[in-house]
């Protein structure tokens, strides 16, 4: 097992390198520079602009910049943000917990919706429940998250005035009130992401369960006199989870993509919104680092999925 993990981690290294090269090249070729706003400002002489560019090393050839980035990265130096002069790792660490919390909880919500609904629908295919659940799932993922987010704001913040739609990091409260405020402001972004993913996963779960439920060993389980619940949970769901885990892992990039949009709408200070602002500001070190962190997270989740897969399916051997 440890051996397998080690091997997987070793495989991940060339992947990360490959990704970093692609990202770096694309970023280096990308138009725009961090001083867009300076050009419109008549008070700034051109030589100051040139000085700035030189001081940030923007005028070196690409490969040199890549190598210096890579060596610095190896040493744990992620560079400084062009626009705020904060070490990039500090900037990301400041925001990563929020993103992970929002994404994490929303994924739990998604699973909490997808598992029961998908399983229940699959055990009664083409029943009314199944049809309704299916239709709702389609509604769920045929609406873009930017749109659902807005509808949520209109309903819960503006019409009903129940929830705030601006996510604030500095809540002036403590104890229970703090948690309550935190809950109130997090619920919409979490639900938007969670419902969208939940809709997609409901379809995955339903179809995976449908595939499993007609298999012989399910009949075997039933012939043992197990209750229907036990059969479903122990023999159907457990096995159906195997493909679902893979699909969920494959969905991770989409989840992060959705998080970017959601963070933007609700002003959640996570790394998604950091990415958007840094793209808009052409803050290359931050873009590079954030996209790289995204990639690493995706690889990490795929690794996790592989491990989970192996745990769920004894036929997979780690040797």
């Amino acid at each position: 097992m440890a051996n397998y993990l080690l091997r997987r981690l070793l495989i991940a290294i060339p992947s990360l390198l490959g990704i970093s090269v692609i990202l770096f090249v694309v970023l280096a070729l990308a138009p725009g520079d961090p001083f867009g706003e300076l050009t419109t400002n008549p008070a700034i002489p051109p030589e100051v602009r040139a000085n700035l560019r030189a001081s940030l090393g923007l005028d070196d050839p690409i490969h040199l910049r890549y190598i210096s980035w890579l060596t610095a990265m190896m040493k744990g130096d992620w560079g400084y943000s062009f626009v705020s002069r904060i070490p990039v790792d500090q900037l990301i660490l400041q925001r990563l917990p929020t993103t992970l919390a929002v994404i994490g909880i929303s994924q739990i919500v998604a699973l909490a919706i997808a598992l029961p609904v998908g399983v229940y629908a699959a055990t009664r295919p083409y029943s009314i429940f199944d049809q309704v659940a299916n239709t709702l799932a389609f509604v769920g993922f045929s609406l873009p998250t930017f749109f659902t987010g807005l509808v949520f704001i209109l309903i819960f913040s503006i019409t009903l005035d129940w929830l705030p739609f601006v996510y604030r990091t500095g809540i002036d409260a403590s104890g229970w009130r703090w948690w309550w405020e935190q809950f109130r402001q997090s619920i919409m972004p979490i639900m938007v992401l969670g419902l969208f993913q939940g809709a997609t996963w409901t379809r995955f779960v339903r179809s995976a369960v449908l595939d499993v439920i007609r298999l012989d060993y399910v009949t075997t389980a039933r012939s043992k006199g197990l209750t229907e619940g036990t059969v479903t949970m122990k023999h159907v769901v457990r096995n159906a989870m195997i493909p679902v885990v893979t699909l969920v892992a494959l969905q991770m990039p989409a989840v992060f993509g959705g998080a970017i949009v959601t963070e933007q709408i609700f002003r959640v200070p996570g790394i998604g919104s950091l990415l958007i602002t840094s793209i808009l500001a052409n803050d290359t070190p931050v873009i590079m680092a954030v996209t790289f962190v995204f990639a690493a997270l995706v690889i990490f989740f795929n690794l996790l999925a592989d491990i989970l897969y192996g745990w769920l399916d004894p036929r997979i051997s780690y040797s």
């Binding site: 992947s15 990704i19 990308a30 930017f146 007609r214």
Partner: protein
């Protein structure tokens, strides 16, 4: 069945609709702005008084074309990569799967942004603004969606190539290509077709998200995603503006998915007789 009819209606609607409903899509009329549905404007108007029905019909062509073309790109690339991986030796397989995984781990959104920045103009000069952006968006959406198809095809190949009928064909001396084209590919296509239907829907949604980020088609081309994006700020006062494009996307996605489900059932070899 019903979904097939709906899908067909939608496709025919956007193809033939503009011939029947001949109001121009960009006729600005400030005296008729943000009107709800009426006989004159069955789906209402937007904030410049432009007719929404005409815009939705016109935009549907592009949205559907993007959806299908992107799907085609994803499926073709995916099938080729998957088939190559499935048929080549363990080394080729590992290399191709490494590439696949690499693409899976690439953060798509920022790359999309950057790639569209980069190549929009060079393409535009060759084929003109709209076609250029169309090709780019299709290539970019398709180019980031082939990986699941490739994995699917490869998995199918790996299991199918051990099956009896392939063994039999091999024993009969069928060449490798023939084996792939005639025997394995058709059998692997079932799940691919299902994945493809999902891709169509996903591509339509991806186009709308690109529009949200200001990177889709030129702003005067009313794709469904663009319409939805333009309408979002007026949602509480003029819901009809968002409702109809949203409905069009929803109906398309829904019917395509149901068609996919139907295909899946029809192609499922395990289906009980």
């Amino acid at each position: 069945m019903v979904s097939g009819v709906i899908l067909l209606t939608l496709i025919l609607g956007v193809l033939l609709g503009p011939l029947v409903w001949t109001l121009p899509i960009d006729e600005i009329d400030f005296s008729a702005r943000l009107q709800g549905p009426s006989w004159e404007h069955p789906l209402g108007t937007d904030d410049l008084g432009q007719d929404l029905l005409a815009r939705i019909l016109y935009g549907g062509r592009i949205s559907l074309a993007v959806g299908f073309a992107a799907m085609l790109v994803a499926v073709v690339v995916g099938v080729v990569v998957g088939a190559l991986a499935g048929m080549s030796g363990p080394r080729g397989d590992a290399a191709l799967m490494w590439v696949t995984d690499l693409f899976l781990a690439l953060p798509q959104l920022p790359l999309l942004l950057l790639i569209i920045y980069l190549f929009r103009d060079s393409l535009k000069e060759v084929v003109g603004p709209e076609v250029g952006v169309f090709i780019l968006i299709v290539a970019v959406i398709g180019g980031f969606r082939w990986m699941p198809v490739a994995r699917l095809v490869r998995a199918q190949f790996l299991s199918l190539r051990e099956k009896e009928f392939v063994e039999a064909a091999r024993a009969l001396g069928a060449s490798r290509t023939r084996l792939v084209v005639r025997h394995i590919l058709p059998n692997a296509l079932g799940p691919v077709i299902v994945a493809a239907t999902i891709d169509v829907a996903a591509a339509i949604l991806a186009e709308s998200t690109l529009s949200f980020l200001g990177l889709g088609f030129p702003p005067d081309i009313p794709t469904w995603g663009r319409l939805l994006f333009d309408a979002k700020d007026h949602l509480d006062f003029s819901p009809h503006w968002a409702l109809f494009p949203g409905l069009a996307i929803f109906l398309t996605v829904l019917s395509i998915n149901y068609v996919g489900d139907g295909l899946r059932d029809a192609l499922d070899p395990r289906r009980v007789q």
